[in-house]
């Protein structure tokens, strides 16, 4: 697949518009999905995805092929998405990445074991709840949304996440941990299950 991408990149670089079109079509939905996960707003995500491809086109001459084309493409998409959020975001208290004892407390998310079970017969439920994922994701701070989206959608490794986000591997791990915890708490909210152990924000300074 990737060799195929490079062939298209070569042709696009040589000025073949159809080759670039093909690259856009190939990646448009996934780029949009990454942007949507980070910026939340569908229209803004559409704009960010478009801008990504415009920048990619502009940068084709500089693309050395050291990394996969898709890696380069999604790196640009990530940075544009984060920029877009930061431009819109009001000054807000930053979350810490450090994991503390209190973070380990079960906020009642264990209850998700039922609706999200791995039993295939419960997949309908899983999907139903899946529809709430986007809303749940949107309640997370930008850095937690971003790392979760990159990990899950792009499948980046700890090393790649560290490189992409410019943080240490240890920070990657603890940030992912917080992101997952928050996601579970938010899911519980959206699943309509209200535990009495709501302790969100415990990792805010």
């Amino acid at each position: 697949m990737e060799a195929d991408d490079l062939a298209l990149v070569e042709r696009a670089r040589a000025g073949e518009r159809d080759a670039f079109r093909a690259l856009v079509v190939r990646f448009q939905r996934k780029v949009y999905a990454v942007a949507l996960g980070i910026v939340k707003d569908p229209d803004l995500a559409w704009d960010v995805a478009q801008e990504t491809f415009v920048r990619v086109h502009r940068g084709l001459g500089d693309f050395k092929g050291d990394s996969a084309f898709s890696t380069w493409l999604f790196r640009i998409a990530t940075h544009l998405s984060i920029d877009a959020v930061r431009r819109e975001r009001s000054a807000r208290k930053e979350d810490v990445d450090e994991v503390r004892e209190s973070d380990l407390e079960d906020g009642g998310e264990g209850i998700l074991a039922t609706p999200l079970g791995t039993d295939p017969r419960q997949n309908a439920l899983r999907r139903e709840l899946g529809e709430k994922i986007e809303e749940a994701l949107a309640t997370l701070p930008e850095k937690h949304r971003t790392i979760l989206v990159l990990r899950e959608l792009e499948g980046l490794s700890y090393e790649e996440l560290a490189e992409r986000l410019g943080i240490h591997k240890g920070t990657v791990m603890s940030r992912l941990f917080h992101a997952r915890k928050k996601m579970q708490a938010a899911l519980r909210e959206y699943a309509g299950i209200r535990g009495d152990a709501d302790r969100d924000g415990e990792d805010e300074t």
């Binding site: 697949m1 195929d4 295939p120 997949n123 899983r126 999907r127 499948g155």
Partner: protein, 145 residues
């Protein structure tokens, strides 16, 4: 295996269960090659009944099944289907999650690959030959038939 190493192995299994499902992913599929013609009586092979709605979107009026196979797709192993025009279609499971599967259909001589995501109950209908004399062949894939 000692008791302790067994516990460690089990713990490792829990740990790595968060990995995108890899080893155990296999998806049984029902693969058929069907022929669509613009001419001839307006008719759909009764074996293709389940496909009627999808086929009706196409400009062909006469549909016949010419080949049929049931295989189990395993990640990383491509199954091949010989096509009537001598070309070869490769079918590969890309991803499986619950009742949703992403399957790649590749046509060797045309150098095309499409990745298509469907869920149980849905089917892929993929044209696999160019049109000759008003007829073309299609591949259909149903997952967990």
């Amino acid at each position: 295996m000692t008791r302790r190493s067994f516990i460690l192995a089990a713990a490792a299994a829990v740990l790595f269960s968060a990995v995108p499902i890899a080893a155990r992913a296999d998806v049984p599929v029902h693969v058929r090659v069907i022929k669509g013609s613009r001419r001839g009586p307006k008719q759909v092979d009764p074996r293709l009944d389940a496909l009627r709605r999808q086929l009706s979107a196409l400009a062909y009026v006469n549909w016949q099944e010419t080949q049929e196979r049931r295989v189990t797709l395993v990640k990383g192993r491509t199954e091949f289907v010989q096509l009537p025009d001598g070309d070869m279609a490769g079918i590969t499971l890309q991803e499986e999650r619950g009742t949703i599967a992403t399957i790649e259909v590749a046509l060797a001589s045309r150098n095309t690959q499409s990745r298509l995501t469907i869920e149980k109950g849905q089917r892929i209908v993929h044209q696999v030959t160019g049109e000759r004399d008003g007829a073309a062949f299609f591949l259909t894939i149903a997952v967990w038939p």
